[in-house]
Structure formats: structure tokens, C-alpha cells
């Protein structure tokens, strides 16, 4: 058995994983919390992405929006990640071989790389362009990548249920 699969099986067979999987209410409650976390995270990220594309809040400088949504985005991330891990804990052995889950993990890795590139390149000079109605193409590319990847993650996440 591959190491990763072995780890998934250990998680699956653990007390916590089993308790969540066999629970009357915990599982659906965690699922709901997971969706609320995604709403907060992706909703606030989308606001910044759409601003860089020049679609919303055009008169407001980028950094002002970024500062405003930052705590919300990270709160959403913590909620999403924690609840998502609990769901994975309960279903790890089944998730391991689930193609939609694998696609979702790949997309999550890509969506993590995107802001790393963004913040170490074009965003370093944000004060030069933050007042522009439409951001430079590198920023727009990052925004489109972010919106596309997050959409894909949500679709893949939902699709886990159908395999």
C-alpha cells in the first residue's frame, strides 16, 4: 500500500475520523461550516480580483480594499481549512482514490502558488498602479487565475460526492 494511502487509512480508522463519519449531526454541521468558510474566503478574494479587473469599486485604491478584506479572508481560510480537514479525516480512505478529490488538491496547490508569485512580483510595486481603474496585465492575469482556480476548486469539491 502506498504511504499516502496508508496514512489515509490510519486517519480513517482513528477514533476521531470514525466518530465524525458515524455521527448523527457532526458531519452535516461541519459540511455547512466548510461552505460558510469558503463563502467568506472566496467572496473576499473575488472582491479584490474583480477590482483589479476593473469591474467593481473602481475609484477605491487596491491596497485599501486589500487591507479591509485581509482579516476576513484569513478568517475564512482558517474556518475552511479546519472544517475541510475534519471532513477529510472522516473520509480519508475513500477520498484517497476519489478522482475529484485529487483534482481538488492539485487546484488547491496551484491556487496557493498564485498569490506567492503575485506578491513577490507585480504587487511589490502596487503603489505605482493601485489607483488605476484597470490594473496592469500581470495583476489581471493573477486575478483571472485566482477566480478560475477557486471556481474549479468549488466544482471539484462538490464533485467528490459523485464518485
Amino acid at each position: 500500500m502506498p504511504l499516502l494511502q496508508h496514512i489515509c487509512q490510519l486517519l480513517y480508522d482513528s477514533h476521531v475520523g470514525t466518530a465524525i463519519r458515524e455521527s448523527d449531526n457532526a458531519f452535516p454541521i461541519i459540511e455547512s461550516v466548510h461552505v460558510l468558510g469558503i463563502t467568506l474566503l472566496v467572496g473576499t478574494i473575488a472582491l479584490l480580483d474583480l477590482r483589479m479587473l476593473g469591474l467593481v469599486l473602481r475609484p477605491i485604491p487596491i491596497t485599501r480594499i486589500a487591507r479591509t478584506v485581509f482579516p476576513l479572508t484569513w478568517s475564512g481560510f482558517v474556518v475552511m481549512f479546519t472544517s475541510g480537514f475534519l471532513l477529510f479525516w472522516a473520509e480519508a480512505a475513500k477520498n484517497y482514490s476519489n478522482p475529484a478529490f485529487r483534482v481538488k488538491l492539485i487546484l488547491l496547490a496551484l491556487v496557493g502558488i498564485n498569490p506567492l508569485i503575485f506578491h513577490t512580483t507585480i504587487y511589490r510595486r502596487v503603489h505605482e498602479w493601485e489607483a488605476l481603474t484597470i490594473s496592469p496585465w500581470r495583476a489581471r492575469a493573477a486575478a483571472i487565475a485566482s477566480l478560475t482556480l477557486w471556481s474549479g476548486i468549488i466544482i471539484a469539491g462538490r464533485a467528490i460526492a459523485y464518485f
Binding site: I20, R21, E22, S23, D24, N25, F27, P28, E31, A90, E91, K94, N98, P99, A100, V103, I144, A145, T148, L149, G152, I155, A156, A159, I160, A161, Y162, F163
Partner: protein, 150 residues
């Protein structure tokens, strides 16, 4: 990028392999025109979210035994109908009325389960749109139009 992504997703969606493990509507996997009644012995029970599974050995007229998987609602919905974890024991003989999987595998959606003591419980997931689903926890037992807990 978007095109490539949707192609990727369409590709994974089209794989559609059994066994099905997760939460979905009735029509995503089962065929409402293929009712089946299984009478057999319990070999395995998975009391799990988001769907429960139990497996029965069914012997046909020719003496051939086949292991069938039966999918039911999750622990929460089944508990509210009075079906508790541990009610089904390995070796129990039960009757399951349900519908076959679209892919023709030995998997059914269990809509009505009759226990050894004669008690009958609706097995469908609430709101799954399958036969007997009336939007409530109880559902209707297939063919009777009556609430399930009798």
C-alpha cells in the same frame, strides 16, 4: 486556462466509476425504472456519512450467491426514523426493496428495509428526489404511499 480547466473537470466527471461513496441525488446513480427486492444475509455494515451502506449475500434460484451493496441515508436521517447503529447485525436476514444502479453493478438504493423482527424503515436520503421521497425525513414506503415507520 478556463477551457483547459473545464476539460479537465469534464474528463474527471466522465470517469464515473463505482463504487459510489459520497453524497448525491437518487438519479445521479440509480434507475427509478429498475425496482428490485433482495432477501439475504447481512455480511457488512457501514454506518457512515453522508450515506450508509450495508451488504447482503443473496442466493438465487440456481443456488448462486451474490453479494449486493445497499445504499441508504446517513446516520442522522436513519436515527430519526428509529433505525439505530447496531440494529443490523452480521448474519441477520433482511428484505430490501430498492432500485438498481444505472451502471448495472450489484448496488441498489435501499428505499425500504425490513428487519428480522418485521419492522420496516424507509431508507432513502431526505430530499434525494428518488421514489418515495416526499421532502421529509420519513419518506413514503415504495408502493404504499404510507409513511415509513409502522
Amino acid at each position: 486556462m478556463k477551457t483547459r480547466l473545464s476539460l479537465l473537470l469534464a474528463g474527471t466527471l466522465s470517469l464515473g466509476v463505482m463504487p459510489a461513496y459520497a453524497h448525491h441525488s437518487f438519479a445521479a446513480e440509480f434507475d427509478g425504472t429498475k425496482p428490485v427486492r433482495l432477501v439475504g444475509k447481512i455480511t457488512r455494515v457501514e454506518w457512515t456519512n453522508p450515506h450508509s451502506y450495508f451488504y447482503v449475500d443473496v442466493t438465487d434460484a440456481k443456488g448462486v450467491t451474490t453479494n449486493w451493496g445497499c445504499e441508504g441515508a446517513g446516520p442522522g436521517a436513519l436515527s430519526r426514523r428509529g433505525w439505530k447503529k447496531g440494529d443490523l447485525k452480521i448474519g441477520d436476514t433482511i428484505v430490501v426493496d430498492g432500485y438498481r444502479a444505472k451502471d448495472g453493478s450489484h448496488l441498489i438504493d435501499a428505499r425500504r428495509v425490513t428487519f428480522p423482527d418485521g419492522r420496516t424503515v424507509y431508507g432513502g436520503s431526505p430530499g434525494d428526489g428518488g421514489p418515495g421521497d416526499n421532502g421529509t425525513d420519513k419518506g413514503n414506503l415504495p408502493g404504499t404511499g404510507n409513511p415509513a415507520t409502522q
